[in-house]
Amino acid sequence: MMKAENTKAQMRKGVLEYCILEIIAKKHSYAPDIIEEMKKAKMIVVEGTLYPLLTRLKNSGMLNYRWEESLLGPPRKYYEITEIGSSTLLELRASWDEIVTSVEIVKNSN
């Protein structure tokens, strides 16, 4: 049982960044908006998971952020995708399709 959980976590980890890029590419997003999407897709359960990922993507130049004032609390960071991010996203899409195809082939061969 633990083993399966571990593998599932590993699998999710691989596609998390891809999913985040997909969401931000659609529109400028604030972290909780991204969480909302991820929760719907059952990718992430807790918000704490997202912040290090966003910071890592930002540090590697794929995301940018701007500050926006908020009535509810501290200023919010709104993330947007950069050119590097967009081209990475295209590559990731292609390789995701490849993986899906590969898995299908393996599953269905017999």
């Binding site: 999710r12 918000e47 704490g48 912040y51 290090p52 540090n59 609390g73 501290p74």
Partner: protein
């Protein structure tokens, strides 16, 4: 009944009850320990704290304005525990290797002090108290050292402070405050620190949300107020001295014509520098010295009355204006020197008609008799006549042989300027007159500069060219202007006066 604390998360102030506080403190410490060793750990922790502040803020209502345990539980559920984040870590670690790796991180930061500005005990920007933590000395001592430096260098130390202010980060998070004091970042220490913050809230906590909260009135702020009064006093008296000094300077240099009567001896400055230069220079001095003084007064008032303002932008704009002052001063100085960069000479050749073979050379002494002169630079004199000033200088007279059979007077006019054209123009503005009466040539003792002309090292060399066989008499009164006249007996200029000389093929010769 429950005890409540006031806490500050991401600059927002909350009231929290005791149990909830313990729980939140514990949770934030875990987050801090989990992320701090990672790349951009501080940023991640700040993001999470901001979000937590926002979540709390959205849950606070007028009925429920204290954070309770239930709220903290909800937030932890939303944000998740560090154990649940492991899937996103750079290097996922097994349970077995987890604790040692974290242990080593704690050890690395132990005793590793970093320079931060201390927001808890700041007077202006927290630079001095930050330095005091860094060097483990009393902050009062650092402040006194800075203050003395400031006075001794007459404000030059101010940019140093401002640069430190901009460059050194503020210790915002609990972990940064621990780093500032060189204490290891452990759960215990962070907890201890958070507790201290609660019992001893810093000024920053109340900036945005509770401005009406009375400020603490302990020993520190009393010292601060005394310090403030001293600053204001020093600032004002220096500013007064500066104003008085500039006023006197402008009076002496006559930069405010019309306000002051022209002094008897005239104003030499006006004949050297352009009209605008002096006032520009005074402006530059006013900015360079005045801005730091104004800032001293500003800081003093801030200390004394403890008001909230955006000091950073005040100091930054002051720094900007100060640099503009420096630039004005430098460019003015360069411009003032530049007008002496190029020199030029122009020559006027005049043919004279004298009705005799014997020519008498005399100085037209009467002409400048009624002028007064008190100031002189180089060969230039400043004369005042009928409340009008003029710049005069002695020409230099030489006598040479003329190849042709007539009398010529060459006026070599020399001047400097910022380029060849202006240098020539300046030279051309040299006015010199002489007159021929019978067999006598009367030379003016001085050449004049046009009323609006500035002193640009002007010079006038007069060469009298006489044909062979002419006899000249050099009058005694011509001595001030004759200069190195060549003669066959190598007689000194002084001994040539009062005698007759004849121009022979080999040169001017004494005639018995």
């Amino acid at each position: 009944m429950k005890k409540t604390f006031t806490i500050n998360i991401s600059g927002i102030v909350f009231n929290i009850d005791e149990d909830a506080y313990e729980k939140l403190k514990n949770y934030l410490s875990k987050i801090s320990i989990h992320f701090r060793p990672q790349e951009s750990g501080d940023e991640i922790i700040n993001d999470i704290e901001s979000r937590i502040a926002e979540l709390f803020n959205s849950r606070i209502t007028s009925e429920q304005n204290v954070i309770d345990e239930k709220m903290v539980d909800q937030i932890i559920e939303i944000m998740g525990l560090p154990e649940e984040f492991s899937e996103t870590d750079e290097n996922p670690v097994d349970e077995s290797s987890k604790s040692p790796s974290q242990g080593s991180h704690v050890n690395n930061t132990k005793g590793n002090k970093k320079l931060y500005r201390d927001p808890d005990s700041r007077i202006i920007g927290g630079v001095c108290s930050g330095l005091s933590h860094y060097f483990s000395i009393d902050k009062l001592l650092v402040r006194i050292i800075f203050f003395i430096l400031f006075i001794v260098t007459s404000g030059v130390a101010l940019p140093v402070y401002i640069i430190l202010w901009i460059a050194v980060p503020n210790a915002r998070t609990t972990a940064q405050r621990l780093e500032m004091k060189g204490e290891p970042i452990t759960v215990d220490n962070i907890g201890k620190k958070v507790k201290e913050d609660v019992n001893n809230p810093s000024k920053d906590n109340y900036r945005s949300y509770q401005p009406e909260k009375p400020t603490k009135d302990d020993g520190l702020s009393v010292i601060g107020k005394i310090f403030g009064i001293i600053l204001i006093f020093i600032g004002f008296s220096s500013l007064l001295a500066l104003m008085f000094g500039l006023f006197t300077a402008s009076k002496l240099t006559g930069l405010m014509p019309g306000i002051f009567p022209l002094p008897d001896h005239g104003i030499m400055m006006n004949h050297i520098f352009s009209e605008s230069l002096g006032s520009t220079l005074l402006l530059a001095v006013l900015i360079i010295v005045g801005i730091p003084l104004l800032l001293i007064i500003y800081s003093g008032t801030k200390l004394l009355f403890n008001f909230v303002s955006n000091s950073r932008s005040v100091y930054l704009s002051a720094l900007g204006i100060w640099f503009i002052g420096i630039i004005i001063a430098i460019s003015t100085a360069v411009g003032a020197v530049d007008v002496f960069s190029t020199s030029a000479t122009i020559t006027d050749n005049k043919e004279l008609a004298v009705d005799s073979d014997t020519i008498v050379l005399k100085l037209d002494e009467a002409k400048f008799d009624h002028y007064s002169s008190k100031i002189a630079i180089n060969n230039m004199k400043l004369l005042v006549h009928n409340n009008e000033e003029m710049i005069v200088a002695s020409p230099k007279l030489d006598i040479e042989k003329n190849g042709e059979n007539h009398l010529n007077l060459l006026l070599n006019k020399y001047s400097k300027g910022n380029n060849l054209r202006t240098a020539k123009k300046n030279a051309d503005k040299i006015e010199y007159s002489f007159k021929v009466v019978g067999n006598t040539i009367f030379f003016d003792p001085y050449f004049l500069l046009d009323k609006n002309e500035k002193w640009r090292s002007q010079n006038l060399k007069i060469t009298l060219k006489i044909p062979e066989g002419s006899i000249i008499y050099i009058d005694e009164n011509l001595l001030p202007i004759i200069h190195d006249i060549h003669n066959t007996s190598n007689t000194w200029d002084g001994d040539m006066a009062g005698k007759y000389w004849v121009m022979k093929p080999e040169g001017l010769t004494f005639l018995n």
